[in-house]
């Protein structure tokens, strides 16, 4: 069974209100060294019956069509052999 991880993050050019709120909270807690926080999403996708050579292609398609919205987000896929 192939396992894949998908990381979805807001594009660099897109303001992240949640990340900013977390950043502000950390600074007010005394973590003055925190320069920025960006919040994203992390997915673990388990594949069954998908040939290993097709795993990346399949998860890439899932990430592109469903898990990320290309208008505001980018994504990265990792596939475990």
């Amino acid at each position: 069974m192939a396992k894949a991880r998908v990381y979805v993050t807001l594009k660099k050019s897109v303001f992240d209100p949640q990340g900013r709120t977390i950043h502000d909270a950390l600074v007010s807690m005394g973590y003055e060294g925190v320069a920025d926080v960006r919040q994203g999403k992390f997915f673990e996708v388990d594949l069954q019956g998908v040939p290993p050579e097709r795993a990346r292609e399949t998860v890439d398609e899932i990430a592109r069509r469903v898990l990320a919205n290309p208008v505001i987000e980018s994504y990265r896929v990792e596939v475990e052999p």
Binding site: S13, D16, P17, T21, L67, V71
Partner: protein, 233 residues
């Protein structure tokens, strides 16, 4: 004319919308279950507000794959008028039928309050009966209504006249305080290039009767009815 109001799991403004179009505007209406895919009896389709599929993943992200959305896409491509309200707007964006995407509100809070929006375009079915520059008062109720598109896309939308509503003060001035969710270019509503698909974040169905504090929203539905009836005639 006959209007369909799409019901997704988690829609919660469907009955209000059916009430306003049916009881207040006197039109024939029917709820359209999200698994339906036959819209041939309908002259206009409304995607109502709510929290379809619990807003899991992203607002509208799961609903856009409902069977009905393929039919809504075909209906729109044939020129049929489609109106998306709040979550309905978000679903139309996810489906690629309207431009842009919604970010979390700039202040991160869920906002439930009356807002003022200026009518920027009157060449859509939902705004054909309104005066350009007029200001409507309607409530918003959303956590993700912060309209985003890349700067070049915003410029294109402005150039093509696809910005239909903008958050303003009561007298129609653009001010940061009037744009509570932080939307790019204060955009509250847009249309597609063909102008038959319109989406907006405020809730016209919650501002369609005097006892609810504003009747401005009804003018959108009346406009939709008149514009659609004219096409049918």
């Amino acid at each position: 004319m006959k209007v369909g109001v799409v019901v997704f799991p988690g829609s919660n403004c469907d009955h209000d919308t059916l009430h306003v179009l049916g009881d207040v505007c006197g039109q024939e209406v029917r709820p359209v279950w999200h698994k339906d895919s036959d819209l041939r009896d309908l002259d206009a389709v409304v995607l109502p507000g709510g929290f379809s599929y619990g807003d899991y993943l992203r607002t509208g992200a799961i609903a856009r794959f409902s069977p009905v959305m393929r039919a809504v896409g075909e209906f729109a491509r044939r020129g049929g008028p489609v109106l998306g309200i709040c979550n309905g707007f978000q679903i139309l964006q996810e489906a690629g039928l309207l431009p842009g995407a919604m970010l979390r509100n700039q202040g991160v809070k869920f906002l439930s309050q009356p807002v003022h929006v200026r009518v920027e375009r009157t060449d859509t079915p939902a705004t054909a009966g309104l005066a350009a520059g007029s200001v409507l008062t309607m409530p918003i109720a959303h956590g993700e209504g912060n309209f985003y598109a890349a700067p070049d896309e915003i410029a294109r939308l402005e150039g093509e006249g696809q910005v239909v509503f903008r958050y303003t003060t009561k007298d129609g001035r653009l001010e940061a305080e009037a744009n509570a969710n932080g939307s790019a270019a204060a955009i509250a509503g847009v249309c597609n290039a063909a102008r038959n698909v319109v989406g907006l974040m405020p809730h016209p169905e919650r501002a369609s009767e005097a006892e609810l504090g504003s009747e401005d929203g009804r003018r959108l539905f009346e406009s939709l009815v008149r514009a659609t009836s004219r096409v049918l005639a």
